[in-house]
Symmetry: C2
Subunit: 203 residues, 2 copies
DNA sequence: CGGTGTGAATCTATTCACAGCA
DNA sequence: TGCTGTGAATAGATTCACACCG
């Protein structure tokens, strides 16, 4: 595998989303520009990092292109993930059906409160936090949604890392410390509001 | 105001978060490196875009630095925002207290279903969708959380833009088309899972 | 000294311009 | 002719290296 530049990866991910919701057979780089705002040059360059050919004089074959992006970015391989912290947010994800359609299988939920685990009704098996290492390695879970309160976030992260997790989606307003190679993505509405404020201010 | 590079802005936002949760008087660029993984060079360069001095031989004055970041990025000016689409996700935000503490005031909720507006109990005034333009301009609302179903997202966006909104946080798995100058940030757990998969694959 | 601040050098990404193809 | 694909040129961000300051 080649190293596709990070910014190109981000754009290709969004492009795959776009293509999957479109109802045409072909699309040109110019049309993608109109829909995304990225220049057609950038788009063609991004696509050139993929292997294979999806082009015709009418533009790219939508379906083939979408498939090639997913293959190149590893989105075709299904992944197992877990939810850590079963408060309001975490427990909401236990019943969220869209994951499976996208190739992400939720196979475990963890919480440090045994009481909470016993009370919650869930289609997904729930475990006390101390079983994290065992369950993660047994089911080969690669990703985690981290939904614990801020003061517990780093501790939970350390456990996940020790258990061999590959990536964490962090909902806590905290900067997590992880060893190199572990991916973290932060999801936080306030931070997004701030980012927009900042962009407006700096432009 | 100067144009701080985009990547620096993103890092400074995270740095502000970090500083606010820390309990020390001074912090050096090396300590920030240990916590974030960014090189101390990068951090010093980022900080150099700010105006003023917060340095001592012991490092940066945590509080002053945090303040300077917020001023430079416009986080000190309170902003008003609204929620569009009052389904499960949207209505959850109506009762979320953390916004106010961060300087973001939720002043309106919109939904196209009048019925839903009448039924929902909310500390925030709710309006039918057709009043969007009027309410947004009356209260000078600058930001919106877009929580409508995917098929309505573009239509709602067009209305928000027409009403003069400055930025949109989009929870729908859709690529929004907006005129230049309108900020959009996408928030979507599946996309974050995908981004991690891709980063793992491409590294 | 242990830190910061910053021009200069390097590395990376984007844009351009045009050759090649159906 | 209208598109893609891509080396070359430009612009931008990161890293380096060292002067400077308390």
């Amino acid at each position: 595998m080649n190293p596709i530049p990070e910014p190109s990866v981000e754009r290709l991910l969004i492009l795959a989303r776009l293509l999957d919701r479109l109802d045409v057979q072909f699309i040109t780089s110019g049309e993608i520009e109109a829909r995304t705002g990225w220049s057609s040059n950038t788009i063609r360059k991004d696509i050139s990092y993929l292997e294979g050919s999806f082009a015709s004089p009418a533009g790219y074959d939508r379906e083939k292109l979408s498939g090639a992006i997913k293959t190149a970015l590893g989105l075709d391989k299904p992944q197992r993930f877990c939810v850590v912290g079963l408060g309001r947010l975490g427990s909401a994800y236990l019943n969220y059906p869209a994951f499976a359609e996208e190739g992400y299988e939720l196979v475990a939920g963890f919480d440090s409160s045994v009481n909470r685990i016993e009370i919650l009704r869930s289609p997904v098996p729930l475990y006390p936090a101390y079983k994290m290492a065992e369950v993660i390695s047994r089911f080969q879970i690669s990703l985690a949604l981290l939904c614990v309160p801020p003061e517990e976030a780093q501790h939970a992260t350390d456990r996940l890392v020790a258990a061999g997790i590959k990536g964490i989606i962090n909902f806590a307003p905290v900067v997590l410390q992880v060893p190199e190679g572990i991916q973290v993505r932060n999801v936080n509405v306030v931070d997004e509001l701030r980012a927009i404020s900042a962009t407006i201010q700096c432009s």
